[in-house]
Point group: D2
Chain length 339, copies 4
């Protein structure tokens, strides 16, 4: 941490900050000159919020030297984290992992049809919403626990692992019983109560990026889970809110590269929520593969027009299969395996 004092700051103000930091067992290296009063802070500063230091009179600028996240950082762990699932699928290595399925689980028949379709096309995991976070209280809220049971049943039948979103910490035991990967939705990325509780789970966590979250905030949310002891985290970029309204969100494809520079955790892309338009999914999926993501989570529906949610961004099963063929061609020249 580097702290720079204002030009007009006094020696007394300087001493006050230094004293405060020394009380926290941090070491000070003074680098002041005639032109500026500035000093470095050495030691574990992770418990200090830099913004709090601005409360001291005379402080002008506080700059972090190290990232605020530790366990999630590349400097903490040099090698890529690879998450090994029970069916042998590995997320974080050379495999481009495909998770596919409906936005909402609507019925056993619907889920089975889609599961068969995506399995045949080569997907490794089945996604499907049981608890749906809807902006309107009057919209369909999901089949809830019945959805979880269907997901497990169909997953087992078809040989697919399953992933679905959790709405709150008290449901963790239920989710641990029925699902293989627990998803934290974008709106819950900073639900710290939930993140802390998931730190105690032994299930891998799929952590979506918040609608307007920076990459640093996203990795801090991963840190919350890791601080609790669970280091099986898959980051998922799903588009951020921008001024552009033609697409539902703006896919931040560079975030994949940023995450790989800053962290050792695997990172996948959700092109469906990013674009909000099924016409864009195939091309965005190809771009995701080309940029180096570790996989995709894609919405697929047998009859998008009658989907209970997100029909506009869902691929038909047949379209998903042809997309897989396109992906295979590019994966081959990039040295990635797809199915």
């Amino acid at each position: 941490m580097i702290i720079q004092m204002k030009k007009e700051s006094t020696k007394k103000q300087f001493d006050k900050v230094v004293e405060f930091l020394k009380e926290k067992h941090l070491e000070i290296i003074d680098a002041s000159s005639d032109e500026m009063r500035v000093f470095g802070v050495i030691g574990d500063t992770s418990s200090i919020d830099p913004t709090d230091l601005y409360a001291f009179e005379g402080v002008k600028e506080v700059t972090r030297v190290s990232t605020p996240f530790k366990k999630a950082s590349r400097s903490f762990k040099k090698h890529d984290t690879i998450i090994k699932l029970k069916n042998g699928v590995e997320i974080g290595g050379d495999q481009f992992v495909m998770m596919a399925g409906p936005c909402s689980i609507e019925s056993e028949e619907q889920l089975r049809t889609i599961a068969k379709g995506v399995k045949k096309a080569g997907a490794q995991l089945l996604r499907g919403g049981a608890y749906k976070p809807r902006t309107s209280p009057y919209a369909f809220q999901g089949l809830e626990v019945e959805g979880l049971k269907l997901l497990k049943k169909i997953g087992d039948e078809e040989g697919l692992l399953v992933v679905t979103e959790i709405p709150s910490a008290d449901l963790i035991p239920l989710f641990e019983e029925y699902v293989d990967i627990i998803q934290v939705g974008a709106r819950n990325m900073q639900n710290f109560h939930l993140l802390k509780a998931l730190g105690k789970s032994n299930k891998p966590i799929l952590l979506k990026r918040g609608l307007s979250a920076t990459i640093e905030e996203w990795l801090m949310s991963a840190e919350y889970i890791m601080a609790g002891g669970n280091d099986q985290i898959i980051l998922c970029e799903r588009g951020i809110r921008t001024f552009e309204k033609y697409t539902r969100n703006t896919l931040d494809i560079s975030a994949v590269l940023a995450v790989k520079e800053l962290s050792h955790l695997p990172v996948i892309i959700d092109p469906s929520h990013a674009a909000g338009r099924w016409t864009m999914i195939e091309k965005l999926s190809l771009a995701s593969l080309a940029v180096g993501a570790h996989g995709l989570i894609v919405e697929v529906h047998q009859d998008p027009e009658h989907a209970m949610s997100d029909g506009a961004q869902s691929l038909k099963i047949k379209k998903f299969a042809t997309m897989m063929d396109e992906l295979e061609k590019v994966a081959a020249v990039l040295g990635k395996t797809l199915r």
Copy 2:
């Protein structure tokens, strides 16, 4: 709801959308011409997410006629909602209500000192964080239940009602025991699980606007609570995320006017989190009063430099008192009462 079809759309595509809507007992008014195929939808469309209709081939644009929120809307209830607290304070009328106190409750002594100070200056409510949502898992997380107890104790002593933030639904009974107004933090504005649970509470809810939430999304979150039966909601604008970094957030002062046009619910301002700099609080508070907000929630600390959080944006007690005097002058000419 008005639905416009693409130029190249077919009669069959048109019929399919119409059939879907009629199944939901909605009425259709066709307003098509040679140049465009467009129709209105009459009836209760609140359970339909307009974006889902884009799944139908041929649909170009879906426009809502009515707001997606109902109970929170001005057209549902013409007169302003006034929330009457047990000490006679009314939020939503001509009183400019002051809630003040530390960001975090740190100790009994700290809280008592601040409570005495803000009470003397004329505040009606004491704020203070017991469960702190911190971006770092290594930062101070609050005194938790001990904080709640202190808050009630000191509030009772000083004759101040109390307000504090709730982190998750399972703590509602505890909060109902100790606090007068339950606050939903910005990061939880779309924690629908929490909102639904609060709909069953009989305590007034202070609902902060999310960091990047639109006013419509904010009112939809109020609708979630109201749909559950609790219509005692105070909206709180606390700054939104923009590209400007000199201030912590950007105070959207126009949001007060927008809320008053769109809704009957009271709306207050939190200048501390908006600015993130104590030097700006007084002037922003004056502007909040001038624009027509129903009150303020302000961070005050007896020793900001040693605050465990948010010291940089906390007013000293003496400064809070002089600010109250300034507010009083302007309140007088605007026909508002302050204390």
Copy 3:
């Protein structure tokens, strides 16, 4: 400037950066420790773009010590700049200056009617667009030079100074002939070619903030003009682009306070473009006065429904007059003069 090297950076990389800076006659203060390699740079760094230093291998973070703007900064000039206009009006002091008039100049009669109205209500300056920057090439583009002539004519008749927007540098001589304050529109805030040319003008410049500009970028644009020799600049906050769509833009009222902390230049507010809704103008104007702005620029029209542009955000003449009365009441208690 403080430069921090990456942990894994080499001595050779460090030396290369140092050598580069020394060639520019800058002094280096090494503050490295075992834990981090970091150094300060002393001297005039204004010609160095910090982002360019990231081209050096090993550089992790470059932090500015001083603001990138010099002449515009408060540290360059302690006292507030006050711009004295030829009719005795002063912008930047205790007077709350009112500029009012139509979005577009449409005809002599229209302009005279409005000018008479705003003059009577107490405005000091007449605004009116002659060259209109419209997003559509098919929309009304303004009366151009005829508009300038009308503006001067009516201004002279009514005893009002005039302000209007310039579209490009080659029109500066024409504007110098006809107008008292030359306005740079939001879309031209970073038209550096225009800014440089205005630096050679002897007319005061009203510099609007760009739609998504930070305050630092805005002050850098002022610096461009000042670097050319013209230090008569009035900054104008007119709302920034955010996700909120109920208002046309989001008025960043805190920007007034930020500008006053960072710079000595006067700053006014344009509530019309910020809100885009005439219903909000009065309250936002009161808030602008309360927050400490040096004045307003407001759109007023005799018949907003038939305005050739921006009718939705224009006040009727009568409404403008009653607003002036409200402003007067608040100005009185704040020690400001209005008319």
Copy 4:
């Protein structure tokens, strides 16, 4: 255009809007019901700014039926526009066109070295800044006309066409003499004065997207040029401003797909300005190819550490060559030609 009136609007208000539109020779189709008063407007509405209609009392919502851009729209011209350059290169078809070179032209030797390098690697066009839009007036502003002459000279020597940014309309004749494609920078995307003037030029225009521009605004800027008669426009996505600070801007890769749906104009990507970090260029270039862009414009420098601008985002010549090899592999399986 569909106009919806407020619930409480009167027949008289309705009639007033209708009368206004009929005066503009537009036809009205009334689709009102008991529940809502709504009507469609048929005819050429391009000269009407929808926001102006909100000035009419009683108007609630105005929705466009057609895009505000006409000549730039896909519905105006079904087939892709292909821009044929004099060396046979076609932009807009199956060729993935590469434009490469330094951010700033610094010297003849520098430009020749880079030109030879990118030519050898397979680029078709040489880029290089002669007039540099810098945020600081104290930073290097470019070689100006000398830069243009060098660009033409080296381009001719190496058999590369040249592209560079124009700062203002008065320089068009000079640019027409020296360059093959005239670039409009992001900050000038809404410099309507410049756009109008370029509409009269016979040179192809490379139109960069503004920092916070929507795709609709970007296409409206293309419309400005096309309205003047010049339909040789290449759109260039170069990253938009978001809250993410790890990258300089956020590459909106979906914009390529959006442009291809909405318009017939070709669209390329500038990964250098989007990322601001050379480490990301190769992967983003691969993603750009995969998503379907028509080419790239990339910054390449022989010695990025001593570049006079943008060194951090410039590829070394050798790195550019290996990137071309990677692109070739993917281009081959996607049916695109690269060199």
